[in-house]
Symmetry: C2
């Protein structure tokens, strides 16, 4: 069983440490996303420098390229990408279901066509767990069925039924070795279905649980409410992971709802497009006002990029379409969220969470 | 006067140290190219780590963007790009003359249209020197006229005449402060004109001299011959810079001809396109044979990329069009040339230059 130690709480908010095969993860934690075995533009050294203890990669993408045989031949995902801290792989379910016209679902699994070359592949609850274990990741996610919102009650009910069925089969296939396996709670915006999904998955006594099926089309208020509702259904002694969430406001709201882990492409995607993240706002570095701005990207940030470069230089890099721009701004954006999480951890541990939360939410961007 | 100390020679090959305003440059040296105030994909920290003591940037590009006022307001080019070692700026002449239909040349200077927005600009021998001094660079290049080969005798003669005229005016405008000013010898593939150009420029007693007008369409044999011919016309006590040259073979040939400094986009451009440089060959990392190749990019290289990543991982990055690929391969390629230069310096100093040269040339790629 994956040891998860809770050090302090503040209401539902929790400060803990998750011990995984490649070291500790201090929670609450934000996981940078490295979909194709690379956090876009950054090296493992960069990720280490900005404090990441765990990153996320993706079963669907790795399955297609470079593929299982190559990854196993090269000694697993950690060695392949030269990252010696923890890795969580998403199950690929979310990506496969996004293919829509190119996938066919049955009770036993899902058959889909590669977006790369049209070749046919099949995911089952068993082979997705086995794939992640073969890669040697620290946390594997169960194959689940994520429904885009709004959706009909019967559609959501069907996704909950299959998600449980698949979780039972995935758990049976799981080797219970160094790879921890997390279940994913579905249920849309239906409290009864959320309760059922959580109850059926908790019965499997997995090392951790994710809150899935949110950040998929619902309002911000609904997302916040169902995060809190679902987190409360999960065992206190196990880590909780809210999938696909990563703005400053959503992270603080999620922590306050009792979530321990988050991931989102938001900081790196924003960084590639010239959008700088700060706790009090987001801005496009290409803006005319930054051309001679001698300040760092965020004067309140202590990251290596903010310690070294001016907004004027980053504005120049983006205006000149220089690839150093995305690299530097992705680094800053990830460092900004890492610092937010570190401050949140300190606030929970130090008994100042309510004030910290209210302070961040008072000035955080609306989205 | 810029102090240039010669420590050892081997035939025409020289081992020296050039003392500039931002520290020493051990020669022979290869200068990474950072056209738009950035060596594509790499930070100043990377450049420092791979041993660069001087980089090259470009007057034409910086003049247009971000422009003189911005660069001066931000404290000059070093501060702008956060690079505290030396910078040489090319004069921009080569870029302007490449515009062809968009420029008009007269004895007094050249008027041209920006490739960015069509706006009209004018370079004169004086304002190009003044611009580079205003940026605070360590070596400024004179505005010259570089003729593409083949060219008529009268065209080359006209370029030599104007290059001298402009060098005289540029020298008169030069403030003789921390920015050293180099002249550029032209003369195509005409020994008489090369002699005349060198003689007229040497008379100006500048801190250093470049060999221009090569690597512009002539054969490899012609380039080697005229490099040697021109280098011998230049004062032994001053640094010699061969512009736009950077393959393994050309660097070793250039050093053997008595050249001290080189620059070329070749390592970074190759790196962005997946071409890996080694002393014994160049290969495209996208090749099928590298998909499961556990070796580093170059088993004989000790750079940080070769110490960390496999060919298989780089192949994956390029096949997935991940921006980490160009970053890592550009780093390796620059490190490969930096190591070549370090070895060349050691060989000249250690009395083993001939054997080193012959060994490299025996296995270096044909181009």
């Amino acid at each position: 069983m994956t040891p998860f130690a809770l050090h302090a709480t503040a209401g539902a908010a929790r400060r803990g440490t998750l011990q995984l095969a490649h070291g500790p993860v201090e929670t609450p934690a934000f996981m940078p996303v490295g979909t194709a075995a690379t956090v876009k533009g950054l090296t493992p050294g960069d990720l280490r420098a900005l404090g990441a203890q765990i990153i996320l990669s993706n079963t669907y993408h790795l399955w297609l390229r470079p593929g299982r045989e190559t990854l196993v031949a090269l000694g697993g995902l950690h060695r392949f990408m030269a990252w010696d801290r923890n890795i969580l792989t998403d199950s690929g379910g979310f990506q496969v279901f996004s293919l829509e016209s190119r996938r066919k679902l049955d009770d036993d699994g899902v058959t889909f066509q590669s977006h790369l070359d049209g070749s046919t592949h099949r995911f089952t609850p068993e082979n997705v767990v086995e794939f992640q274990e073969a890669l040697g990741v620290d946390i594997a996610m169960m194959l689940d069925i994520c429904v885009k919102l709004p959706a009909s009650a019967s559609e959501i009910e069907a996704s909950v039924r299959r998600t449980t069925l698949w979780a039972q089969r995935g758990t049976a296939a799981w080797g219970r070795g160094a790879t921890a396996l997390f279940g994913i709670v579905q249920g849309g915006l239906d409290e009864r279905l959320r309760e059922r999904s959580a109850r059926e998955l908790v019965a499997l006594d997995l090392p951790g649980y994710a809150i899935g099926g949110l950040s998929v089309g619902e309002s911000r208020e609904e997302m916040g409410r169902f995060t809190r509702f679902t987190a409360a259904l999960l065992p206190a002694e196990k880590p909780r992971y809210l999938m696909g969430v990563g703005t400053v406001r959503d992270l603080v709201t999620g922590i306050d709802a009792g979530v321990d882990m988050f991931d989102c492409v938001y900081p790196t995607r924003s960084g590639r497009h010239g959008r700088a993240i700060t706790r009090t706002g987001e801005y496009n570095i290409r803006g005319a006002s930054y051309v001679r701005d001698e300040r760092p990207v965020d004067p309140d940030c202590s990251c290596a990029v903010c310690a070294t470069y001016t907004r004027a230089y980053l504005a120049h890099l983006f205006r000149s379409e220089e690839i150093l721009g995305p690299r530097l701004l992705s680094y800053h954006n990830l460092a900004a969220l890492a610092a937010l999480m570190a401050d949140a951890r300190a606030a929970i541990a130090g008994g100042t969470w309510d004030a910290f939360r209210d302070g961040v939410l008072a000035t955080a961007p609306a989205r």
